[in-house]
Amino acid sequence: MKNFEQYNVEDFVLNKDFQDWVQGNSPNGDFWLAFIQQHPELSETIGLAEQVIRAMQVQPRAVSDKIIREDINRFINRALAVSVETDQRTHSLKSWWPSYQVAAVISLLGLLLTTAWFYNSPKVANLSSPLSSYILPSASPAALAETVNSTNRPLRLVLSDNSLVILSPNSSLKYAPHFTTTERRVYLTGEAQFNVVKKTIPFKVYAGGLVTQVLGTSFVVRAYEQDAKATVQVRSGRVSVYKMNPISASDDALLSNLDESAIILTPNQMAVYERADSRLLKSITAEPIVLQPEAIEFDFTETPLPAVLRQLERAYGIHFQFDEEALQGCQITASLSNETMYKKLTILCKLVGGSYEVVDGQVIIHAGNCR
């Protein structure tokens, strides 16, 4: 504890904590109130110190949030246009899934920024770009904005409905600067994660011959032009995916298409579109995530296999097919908290001498016998 009893006016004024208290930012407000009560002899000194600090203020010249947004957009646009000195360093291409730390900082500070950036920067799409002709429906939409991520980092965009798009490197997205009241439609080449704000108006992603349609959910579309496959992976909510009709891309045709061949994806499922033979298949993502981490216990002691499988089913939201009666006799004692879903399945199958396969977005267990 400092010897505040000996302080003079200068000392109090120069004390950061005292300054903070006068300016109303101190976590120790109670301390100073108590100190003043206990030391009436210092009231004149403290009073003057307080007044000095109050006098030392300057009228802030306000700069509106709008101006700040504008200036930051202006900066980003200009910065992306200038070349960077000695940009020869090789950047380790981080997994496109952004590190959460960076993401947190960005979303904390940059939300306004990305919103504003979106509102202010859209360039009119260059319709002669090498996008395959069928990607843009013949009924060419009004002026679209296009954002190209030529950086080596994921790029965050906020669309006019507040849906968030994280555009991977070497990818581009075309979108209406303001969505109409009837549809929210975007065109993707490359890869992007979408966190779509729930609305009654469908949100459609056109990419690599596929249309992904949702009302509100989180999913990843990957459709690089050089890849043989286009995929759609679901993180939350429900997504329908269907093939684009290259001949007629009017909405009616798309809707009828939806009825015929759409597949519905739930979390941890993915759609794979083989471009060569135009086959659209349902599968499971490479690394399914636990959807309800708080409710799931993966430590098993002499638990019948069907109960274990149902536990996994709930954890990953994926349907497992198995012969309940045949597996009832299999008792499992294992701790499976850290493994991926596939690893868990491999271990379980090994324990009972069985096998599994992924068919149509489901897991089918072929079990041995436990007697």
Partner: protein, 204 residues
């Protein structure tokens, strides 16, 4: 109160910016924009010029991302750079540089105006007004320190870096300024008390 990012957050953004993350730099720009803008106005009262200066400054930073060094204190570095940038602009446009005037010769526009939000007593208001006047008569360098310390809430280390002088001189100058204020205020207060004394004595 201003929402300023913490030094570790600023440092993290600086590191990200150095690895080529333009959004990290844009976030730094956003986080300090109001402070730097207000600071810039101390050297040039033209809002547009200050805004352009901030554009140039951050663009330069972006172009130097691969070669720029680590900085100990991001906020202090930005304040210092804004100041240097504006003073340089100013000198380019004036004839002063031909007279051999250096960095130490610049004027600083700080008009102190007290925060009366929690002041109720009439004589407190009176005394704070007196202090305000005294403050506005202080030499430029002292007002600069007071502005940085009490308006921008910076630490002595940061102020020393921005003003390119040692930490001890910063402290000494500030101490001197406050002493001057205290003495000036006591004088006026004594006169007030004498005045009251006279009033009261005439009552009896």
């Amino acid at each position: 109160m201003k929402q300023r990012i913490s030094p570790p957050q600023a440092q993290q953004l600086w590191q990200d910016y150095r690895t080529g993350d333009i959004y990290a730099l844009a976030n730094l720009m956003q986080a300090y924009y109001t402070d730097l803008y207000n600071w810039g106005l101390r050297f040039c009262n033209e809002s547009e010029i200050v805004r352009d200066c901030l554009q140039e400054l951050f663009l330069t930073l972006w172009q130097k991302q691969a070669t720029i060094d680590n900085v100990d204190d991001v906020a202090a570095y930005l304040f210092k750079t804004v100041k240097n940038h504006l003073l340089m602009e100013f000198r380019k446009k004036s004839f002063l540089h031909t007279l051999g005037l250096t960095d130490e010769h610049y004027s600083l526009a700080v008009e102190f105006s007290a925060d009366f939000r929690q002041v109720e007593e009439e004589h407190d208001v009176y005394r704070i007004r007196q202090l305000e006047q005294l403050l506005n008569q202080l030499p430029d360098r002292q007002r600069e320190i007071i502005y940085l310390r009490f308006y921008q809430n910076l630490e002595f280390d940061q102020i020393a870096e921005i003003m390119q002088i040692g930490k001890q001189p910063v402290y000494n100058l500030l101490h001197k300024a406050i002493k001057h204020l205290r003495e000036g205020a006591s004088t006026t207060l004594n006169w007030l008390l004498v005045g009251w004394g006279l009033c009261i004595s005439t009552l009896f």
